[in-house]
Subunit: 189 residues, 2 copies
């Protein structure tokens, strides 16, 4: 039996930290959960921001941004990036994290975060309260310690976490459930 919870954005969401430069070349980071992968070729992702944010204008001006995936141990810093605005404070200085200039796009990434996707602006889609920026992923960089054999990223070492809008809580990633494109084979007729 289903009950209606009314229209809303009630689905588990990723925790993307969006890195940009402002007009003075100062690095800024903000948290975005309205986000996801959206194309394989070219490889693209979306991040949706409100026009009121500092990062919105940075992306418009620089046509580039990074997406930084925090691990569990960086959860408080990542949360802070969503609490305050870069107009009024230097969030990197406040958290003691290090901005590194991307060699591929005009945006900074966080040295201490385990996974970084460097993006050039590919499309801008006005939707309403949020504007959706589609970024083409130009490179993925990972912390060396999170990379296992054969250059494969070990998610157990990245330890990403998720945001659930329903209770406004972060949730850890858990154990492996099973291999994709495989556990459903039993239903094949």
């Amino acid at each position: 039996m289903k009950v209606s919870l009314s229209a809303g954005t009630l689905a588990p969401a990723p925790m993307y930290i969006v890195g940009t430069y402002d007009e003075d070349g100062r690095a800024n980071m903000m948290a975005a959960a309205w986000a996801g992968i959206c194309c394989s070729k070219p490889p693209c992702l979306t991040v949706s921001l409100r026009e009121a944010t500092y990062s919105y204008h940075n992306i418009q001006a620089r046509k580039a941004f990074t997406v930084n995936i925090p691990g569990e141990e960086q959860a408080a810093a990542a949360d802070y990036f969503g609490l305050v605005t870069g107009k009024k404070t230097d969030k990197l200085a406040d958290t003691g994290l290090t901005a590194v200039k991307s060699q591929l796009v005009d945006a900074p990434y966080i040295e201490e975060f385990p996974l970084v996707l460097e993006c050039s602006l590919f499309r801008t889609v006005e939707l309403g309260l949020h504007t959706m920026f589609v970024g083409e992923i130009r490179d993925v960089k990972a912390e060396e310690s999170a990379v296992g054999e054969k250059d494969a990223l070990d998610l157990g070492r990245v330890k990403p976490f998720f945001f659930f809008p329903g209770d406004r809580m972060y949730y850890r990633i858990g154990e492996k459930l099973g291999p994709a494109f495989s556990i459903g084979e039993k239903y094949r007729t």
Copy 2:
């Protein structure tokens, strides 16, 4: 120290099961991980599909779809929805799951899945290999047993899981890590 893993869609992704009707009114389901929330007002989400899929043409024709979030116990069925095409088989019959007609949009949802978002097509964005469909969320329905006090959805009862493209594995959701818009307060200057 960061190492480059080259450009690619290497980020943790949600598991959305997209429900549509074909031209004969037959319900179809497919798995989509290139997806996410993209706007708060109107509440919207994205699902990206290749033109080669059956669901792509269903959405184009019906201008509606549902997003069904499976729990752990439905992982094999959800995986199956991504393994085969609705052109050749009835995936709901194969898995023994029940399609219910949405009263709000021209699309079916899965009765047994814990969380359902009913969407009308809001925008279509051509990106490359994938086309991104933006759906306006018209209602969210949850299984009664997953709803706790004050009509709040309990994620511990939904038990969603995630897809990681790096190792093509599904991962369970884990424990609560902490409250959003709160654990970062310690950095406020």
